[in-house]
Symmetry: C2
Subunit: 262 residues, 2 copies
């Protein structure tokens, strides 16, 4: 089984928000050979839909406060609108996608985040991944498309970070597959100068990462993604790449993006 | 394989709209032994959400005109909000539900309804059911929960009648299972007097149905559901029952609701 390769691909909300970039990415994703999983971010549609419904969006440190009303919005937008449109597009491209939240087939269970200084509301921290059922889907030629929602044993849906879901799924499946974890977003990779899109760091290992972090070279928003990446490698994921969505194939081949190594 | 029984259960939108009735039904559904599939209607939440978004709902002969804006609403509400909340509730009841639209794993493909006198917009008529993948899910202990949305080969999601999806799924799976098709709604069965909830017709066969239809005894809205029922029986479904959602177990055992026979 370990001879089989699997690509776990996270696509950022900024790409999903742009119809042309999204379509372009889905065509590339569809063309990628082998077993694959797509995990998508939320994007701005949730905020726009909330606003149209008269629901105020509150963000703390870049994270969405998810009260009951906002949970309904993200369930509609992430689990319904965004997820099902990706699935329908992939079906038209002859990729047999199956749209899932963490609740579906119990694939990703989480715990509601405990209230410390901030009450994030219905936000989940990943607890476990059902790798057996995901493996079964992959063996049957299905392509899971996962929305950034999980569930608790109590029956609550929970708004959950897609980067974390992607690394948790990659780690859980590393026992059955040679897993590549690919983070696709709207930049060409990890930048040594946030204002210069050409300043892509082509390879990053823990020593260099520590140096860049200390000197403040690496953008603060990138740190959780990189921490996730090194954690995934430490737990058996074969490789991690951070790249522009348009460069998916080149990044998988190793010629674009930032390749993360131990 | 034909020794295995399967219950294909449709739950109406009026039950789904009522939180208490919905919870009560899902508990009964969860307790039902054996392989099972749940197909849910839409309910009034789509109309309410459309109204909150400033989108007008237009109905012709009880059917929703689904333009592009309304398609987004039903995709959010049916495929997201309603479907995922049912799944999360069933998961909390230890039923391993998997929420799907027809597009997911390509389970139910449809054709966009051709425009004759009325343009219904993005509305689908069921073309085919992928019984192999549904059988695989059932054999793996999963409980499919299907929203009233299908897809076309062109990549469009399509608003689709849940009664028809239920009978199409029941017929497609009749080759692999002994299928019971159970329509649950807010009445005790098919009534001989629409104004008298006690007037349940306990058994209905084609001769009696023809007589009742001719005399106008059977409510006009019930005719498509009954036509679907007789069609399903003719195509190999073992039994069809129309019953109140609260009577699910008794109806499966044959002691409540209207039992439809050939």
């Amino acid at each position: 089984m370990k001879n089989n390769s699997l690509s776990v691909i996270k696509i950022g909300g900024n790409i999903i928000d742009n119809p042309e970039a999204s379509k372009n990415f889905l065509e590339k994703f569809s063309d990628l050979p082998g077993a694959k999983i797509l995990i998508h971010g939320g994007g701005k549609v949730a905020t726009q839909t909330a606003s149209r419904l008269g629901i105020e969006t509150r963000m703390v440190e870049g994270r969405r406060i998810t009260d009951r009303a906002m949970l309904e919005v993200v369930t509609m937008v992430y689990g319904g609108l965004v997820n099902k449109n990706i699935v329908a597009t992939l079906q038209s491209l002859k990729t047999n996608a199956i749209g899932l939240t963490g609740a579906d087939a119990g694939i990703i269970e989480a715990e509601k985040r405990p209230v410390k200084t901030i009450d994030y509301g219905y936000v989940g921290d990943v607890k476990s991944v059902n790798s057996a059922i995901l493996t079964n889907f992959l063996e049957n030629g299905l392509v899971p498309v996962i929305a950034p929602l999980t569930f608790s044993a109590a029956g609550d849906l929970l708004n959950t970070n897609a980067d974390t879901m992607a690394s948790a799924a990659a780690v859980a499946l590393a026992g059955n597959f040679n897993v590549s974890l690919i983070y696709c977003f709207e930049k060409d990779g990890v930048l040594s100068d946030p204002d210069n899109d050409e300043s892509v760091i082509s390879a990053l290992e823990p020593g260099l990462y520590a140096t860049y972090k200390q000197s403040g070279v690496i953008n603060k928003g990138m740190i959780p993604k990189l921490d996730n990446s090194f954690d995934a490698l430490a737990k058996g994921v074969g490789r991690v790449v951070i790249c522009h969505a348009k460069d998916l194939h080149a990044a998988v081949e190793g010629s674009k993006g930032t390749q993360i190594h131990l």
